[in-house]
Symmetry: C2
Subunit: 151 residues, 2 copies
Amino acid sequence: MADEGLAAETLCQVALVVKDIEKAAKAWAEALGVPVPEARLTGPAEETQIRCRGKPTEARARLAFFNLGPIILELIEPVGEPSVWRDGLGKCDAAFHHVAFYVRDAERTIDRLQAQGMEVVQTGGFRGGRYVYVDARQRLGAMLELLPTGR
Amino acid sequence: MADEGLAAETLCQVALVVKDIEKAAKAWAEALGVPVPEARLTGPAEETQIRCRGKPTEARARLAFFNLGPIILELIEPVGEPSVWRDGLGKCDAAFHHVAFYVRDAERTIDRLQAQGMEVVQTGGFRGGRYVYVDARQRLGAMLELLPTGR
């Protein structure tokens, strides 16, 4: 049965959206006792092919990552145009954004989640992969990110 | 350096507070493709010695757990009196609540986080252990739970 759902995939990431990534990365680095990671800007739209709610967008983000053993903690600062990152931050300084899963068969997983009432809200690529955000906030209380592994 | 912070500890749990744990557990079980876990009520205050913002409280919660490999997903439905669980839920149906770490030296970890401006807001026990919630929302964008391992 578990083979039919996300429990058969690999939870790999917890992500927060933040207003000021330098400040947030410094605070997390201090709490974790590790060096402050460098924030890096996502690529331009022609490279990432980012789409938000079905439409192309120029939205970008600055990202910083902390390796916490079994999972990665990701900090995301929205940059530029509307995106699910900016939506998620709202007027806060920081907010929980998503949990991410590596998924082996993205299309099948998306079909299954859509059949349960969840919706793909943003997609895009990065060097070495692509991502799919599924809005499960209404149903699960969390945004999901799917990271297809191509296997 | 990592030995001086949470990165040297073990991230073990991501938790959401939910209004209706049966509904939330069913939706998560469907997405995960696993059986619906039974929700269990935390013990009474005389057993758990729960304190919220420095004062004893009768607050309880109903909990359900999903084992997602490297970490546990916890669902928490606040029951009864004010608690950080009820504060976290607010008027939402579901909201992110905390990330939890097993910590080897709780007092030292608490001292360090307090020196960074974070505050212990709720403590309590359960069969086989105790927990400490540290409010890091302002600074880190997330509540932290410390689970002392006694080592």
